[in-house]
Symmetry: C2
Subunit: 331 residues, 2 copies
């Protein structure tokens, strides 16, 4: 296995410890529950925002914790939902009178953990709401999902909700913002290789030397089609058409574009893809107002990329431009 790792079972805690050591002023780490929290949490009178899911998608979501984004993240092990009691403990640590919102990407395991934690937290008198993210247009249901999967578009939901909460919006308003952003966000990805979880030590699926998985999930779930490796231009056309026709995005729309690397793709190739997407959208009369190029939601070491489009209005534009203080690029 070609990884920078010690004991594979300690992969997640060692990564989280590194994250906390790198951000001593802004983050705290509680190894007992795998929690990464804002150092100043709970933030009085502010709605708190929590996300948790399997690890292996970094920088999502642990590196999106900080002012103007998440108040905390409770990651599970690699590609595994967080234990319910970790979610509950995170909820207690973040809870304020303003309440706590869970952002849950739509996977069955994550939903179960967060639903159970919500029930128990509410029984303790904590006000909790949940926003589901399901931006992946590739397939209707999937290996671990009923309904659409939540993928990199999740970043925009966090960013907008985080900005709204920071400005003092109440829990209903922050939930509304999150659901609104999710409703105008669409993503789809393509894998050129599989990925290798540290504890498994071998790829989770097989992909031939000349094959690509169109519409791949971020845990290696099958997409729409196994294809011969397409040119970058053909990939942009396939992903773009699937996403644009789905909302649909239309001439005159203003959008944010994300080219997200899945973990093993050089940034040079992501910029190459961005140029093609930008010109394709321009030709359709769609205006790119904001762009995000890099890694936002990965699948371990997978060579692949995803495209996300968000239809902007003045409200979303302003929230996306708001300041934030996290280890990743947010502007």
């Amino acid at each position: 296995m070609k990884k920078f790792v010690n004991d594979p079972k300690q992969f997640v805690p060692e990564m989280l410890e590194g994250l906390a050591l790198a951000n001593p002023d802004t983050l705290t780490y509680d190894p007992a529950f795998n929690l990464i929290l804002r150092a100043d949490a709970p933030v009085k009178d502010k709605v708190a925002i929590l996300q948790g899911s399997g690890s292996g998608h970094e920088p999502a979501h642990v590196m999106a914790v900080g002012r103007g984004m998440l108040d905390g993240a409770c990651p599970g092990d690699v590609f595994a939902a967080p234990p319910m009691d970790y979610v509950l403990e995170a909820t207690r640590r973040l809870a304020t009178d303003a309440g706590v919102i869970y952002i849950v990407n739509n996977y069955t395991g994550d939903r179960m953990a967060f639903e159970m934690a919500q029930e128990l937290a509410e029984a303790e008198g904590i006000r909790v709401r949940t926003v589901l993210v399901n931006d992946d247009v590739a397939v209707k249901d999937s290996t671990y999902t009923v309904g659409r999967r939540g993928v990199a578009g999740n970043f925009f939901v966090i960013k907008a909700m985080g900005a709204a909460a920071e400005k003092g919006a109440d829990i209903d308003e922050v939930v509304r913002v999150g659901e609104h952003v999710n409703s105008v966000t669409r993503s789809m990805g393509l894998a050129l290789t599989s990925c290798t979880p540290p504890a498994k030590g071998s790829p989770i699926f097989d992909l031939g030397e000349d094959e690509a998985e169109l519409g791949v999930g971020i845990h290696g779930e099958p997409g729409r089609e196994r294809v011969r490796v397409p040119s970058a231009g053909a990939i942009v056309r396939e992903l773009g058409e699937a996403i644009i026709s789905d909302l649909p995005f239309q001439k005159g729309d203003r959008v944010a574009v994300m080219i997200n690397g899945l973990g093993g793709t050089p940034v040079s190739e992501l910029y190459l893809l961005y140029g093609l997407v930008h010109k394709d959208l321009q030709a359709r009369g769609i205006t790119v107002e904001r762009n995000y190029i890099g890694e936002y939601c990965t699948s371990l070491d997978m060579v692949g990329a995803s495209l996300t489009l968000v239809r902007l209005d003045d409200e979303i534009s302003e929230l996306l431009a708001a300041p934030a203080e996290v280890p990743i690029r947010v502007f």
Copy 2:
């Protein structure tokens, strides 16, 4: 070949076009000479800073162009020095009365192109100085180098010189800053895989399933030793010891630490490495004041990482903390 690419010969221009389209307010791209320049260049009365080298190391150096960093970059093709006339043209575009400084990573091809361009530019009346970067402690001479190679530590030289120039320092002073930072910066890397240039379509060297190259160069040049894949802890000890003993870094020193991904390494693993480095330095009585974790100088899709340490003093600390406006993380 598993890459996001159209015609491999157009890899660099398509990537540069994407970069320019993503940064319309801050960057301009001239396809005739492969140039990425600050949109407001030449900046009156300011010393201009130019770097060029082979492509394939992104975000170095084209994504380090902007206010407070480089005024321009003149990349060559993948792993190939820029043509001398591209360097000369870039020099003309950036030239002000305050002069132009070349930052040249120590590779024979790059040095030749920049030395010839400097002669011709000076003949045209442009004031030019050169700062060499040679931070890689792995080997004395190398495949394309007499003397030490310049690798990821280059980022710190750019950042400090860019900040000094932005504050109005004159050409001698900005050169002094660059040479000072280079003199206290040391790096070394390790590769777990080779890398594949788009136009070649196959790996540039062979590395067995259980092998790693300790001290690898960013063009896949041999390092110190071919080893069995070490644990993350062993890697940190090897790289740390080589770097620390070289300057040497000593108890009581304050440092900036960079964990640089070589292109195909997940950010989770880089943070895991950072945690180990941080604790190792702490145990040695060396204080980490600034950290940089991510991709700064890559080798296409190579799975690997490098460690860079910079010995800080108040001057360097202040320059590293100065504002900058480029597509990569600089703080």
